[in-house]
Symmetry: C2
Subunit: 489 residues, 2 copies
Amino acid sequence: HHISVHTFRCSLHRCTLQKYVQTEYAFEKCPPCSVFVCEWRSPEQLKDLLDLELREGGEAHPQILQRCRDAIRYSVKTGHPRFFNQLYAGMDPYSLVGRFITEAINPSLYTYEVAPVFLLTEEAVLQKMIEIIGWQEGGDGIFSPGGSVSNMYAVNVARYHHCPDVKVLGLSALPRLVMFTSQECHYSVAKAAAFLGIGTNNVYVIPSDKRGKMIPAEFEKQVQRAKDEGALPFMVNATAGTTVLGAFDPLEEIADICERHNLWMHVDACWGGGALMSKKHRYLLQGIHRANSVAWNPHKMLMAGLQCCAFMVRDKTNLLQRCHSAQASYLFQQDKFYDVSYDTGDKSIQCSRKPDAFKFWLMWKAIGTKGLEERVERALAMARYLAEEIKKRDGFRLVMEPEYTNVCFWYIPPSLRDMADGPDVCTTPYPQVAPVVKERMMKKGSMMVGYQPHGDKANFFRQIIISPQVSREDMDFLLDQIHSLGMDL
Amino acid sequence: HHISVHTFRCSLHRCTLQKYVQTEYAFEKCPPCSVFVCEWRSPEQLKDLLDLELREGGEAHPQILQRCRDAIRYSVKTGHPRFFNQLYAGMDPYSLVGRFITEAINPSLYTYEVAPVFLLTEEAVLQKMIEIIGWQEGGDGIFSPGGSVSNMYAVNVARYHHCPDVKVLGLSALPRLVMFTSQECHYSVAKAAAFLGIGTNNVYVIPSDKRGKMIPAEFEKQVQRAKDEGALPFMVNATAGTTVLGAFDPLEEIADICERHNLWMHVDACWGGGALMSKKHRYLLQGIHRANSVAWNPHKMLMAGLQCCAFMVRDKTNLLQRCHSAQASYLFQQDKFYDVSYDTGDKSIQCSRKPDAFKFWLMWKAIGTKGLEERVERALAMARYLAEEIKKRDGFRLVMEPEYTNVCFWYIPPSLRDMADGPDVCTTPYPQVAPVVKERMMKKGSMMVGYQPHGDKANFFRQIIISPQVSREDMDFLLDQIHSLGMDL
């Protein structure tokens, strides 16, 4: 390693400090901000460093302590203010305390008798989220191990709602079922169709407009196509906050079509659900109260920590229970001395289940609904700032104006700017820029941001803003870094 | 609350101490052993105590600290040496450290770039578990959020193996698929059949013998029945360690039948897999190396902490990837600068995924394979001790000799012992004994043990032994307590 001493002026706290750092670049924030986001090692190097092998004998405590240090050192610091790589980031201290408590208590949420506190806090969180969605008559829900699993729940309850026989008889006894989703939806919708036996061919994909939103007229055409084919259309997956572009499907118009054709309306708001907390931005999900089910992951925009994923249904007839129950007599005894309606484990497809709602409940208690709202509004304001900065700078181009906190943009190195002046500028040139810049930033460890090709568009960066620790200085740093890492290309 | 002062002689450490305790009974262990297993409150009481409501404003730190204390106080102490209620128990300190680390780092296991340490430790643990299963050519695997989900994976890969078209075309394009399992299997097998669109009617249930083991001849009869009906039999779920009785299906004979009929052999060893760690007891799973897939939860007998659930396949042709992948271009870019075969997230049905293997890896490093073996052998020896004690005591009757650490027994209060002298003693009388004793032990908080009816057998206790902290004194205490709580019935 190349180690050298640098003097900093911290960009966040304005303090001056000295620090030993690796690499030729000095960091610009005080500890803990100056910790690397990652300390890159190749898989082969890291295997050697970690000594992965599991042996007959155990190891002494100092050795185990060193293993812990190494695991931490070589892990990506996802709570770092410059980790922008995924749809989650940051670290809320209340949530972390909640997680330490639940890890130490080690509960499993099948029954009230073994997890009384965690079943009640889960119920309280779900009821509040349902209120925020706007289901005035209430609803039901369950926390699941990931938004992908929540979307699977949606498919399963939707088809059970249409054909309750499916639970017992299976799909081979039914007509061909068809579901709908936009081309911009999360890939878990296809995974759900495959896993649940529907088949990916029976997911009819609806074109989206230039902003990434499902086109309602195209949706209705696809419904008609399925009917003409003699298939049974049963549900649509609308997306509130798409993965790459952060687009919101037009929920009111989708709800109208669902009513006309008797379709289950599921909203995958895993990412965009956070906007519901903001009175200013919740218009993005206008119409969500008309959905039959909603998936919403507080571990994303609301920083509850992985995992924290609610699946909720508007139904009040115990649909989750009827659809998923297996009535195990060793667990869900009916002769218990308390009200067994609190034993909610049989609503789930899981048996052991982690208490993912508790950390969110504790954080919510600590910062209040108002605190959650402020965080969301701050993240959106920061995304707006970044978009404006991108427009001001040479060599940066927005893919589109952000509606949420996905800021998608290209970086064009000086040597390519001349050829990048036409109207098709960003669909053609140099898809290798983003991968090379990404490689350099990871090897340096200064930050992490994702990139991807998308439809006809060559690789672009997708900057995601979540954490309240992220400042305007971080946005400036991001653009400066990308330029300094890629200007020679 | 009734609070009084008692003087104890700790049964474990032989020290004398005074303590304020609730209830009329004194506890017999020093702190921390004298902590209650649970402090029972009804759902209504607990709702008031916890103040569940989520409000506009946040709360000050002292209030949040009190909420943490309350959450801990009213939670069941599943790591307590007298928590015998589920198929998990105890607390390993190395695992807990691993969990604190991963909660603080907050990784998600999609790609090497965001979770390098945790993907490599997962792979190392899987390869070692595969070696222990006895797949000499290796295999593949993934950690899942629960044994139920692992069993779903098994069903999905088994049907994909038989009919790769199912992923794209769905079940409506296929003949009726039929799977097999014993009457003693875990309820997740039925949940999997419902969720994956196969239908619970297409799970053909095979009778088990008196010891709870699948009867191979009956299995083959059911296969023939499915074939005669024109259905397509595709897999069997064999259970190694059933939930209630702790029975092991005869894997060698089941493997023979699978070979004759070209069936996928899945072994649900979620609970019984722990015995593989013991050279003395691994004969219980004789033949598991012939399985096509295995589910094994180190969070149960091996105390890795919830959740830690491996699903493994013997296949070496990338079946998990082919069966589950959706190739999201924003996550699994192919133009990355490292070997993207380490980006294993697309094998999974999840997108976000917790690093459940790391805590197990750290614990294994600390105590070694030998340490895991000793724990398993100690738990089995303790179960043997308890079974012998039960045979010696009036009013206690074993349901059957335990093979594993499920010790199933009835308690018969003195007033009922006369009428309980016939050969059918335990199938008829007084199913309310266990529920009443359970209610009393929970309200006292002294211990927790499960009970259930099973087939034609009235409610009996199911004592599960796992933790190395459990002593012979705890076994004696269990029987003494049940007698003292139920002798007046």
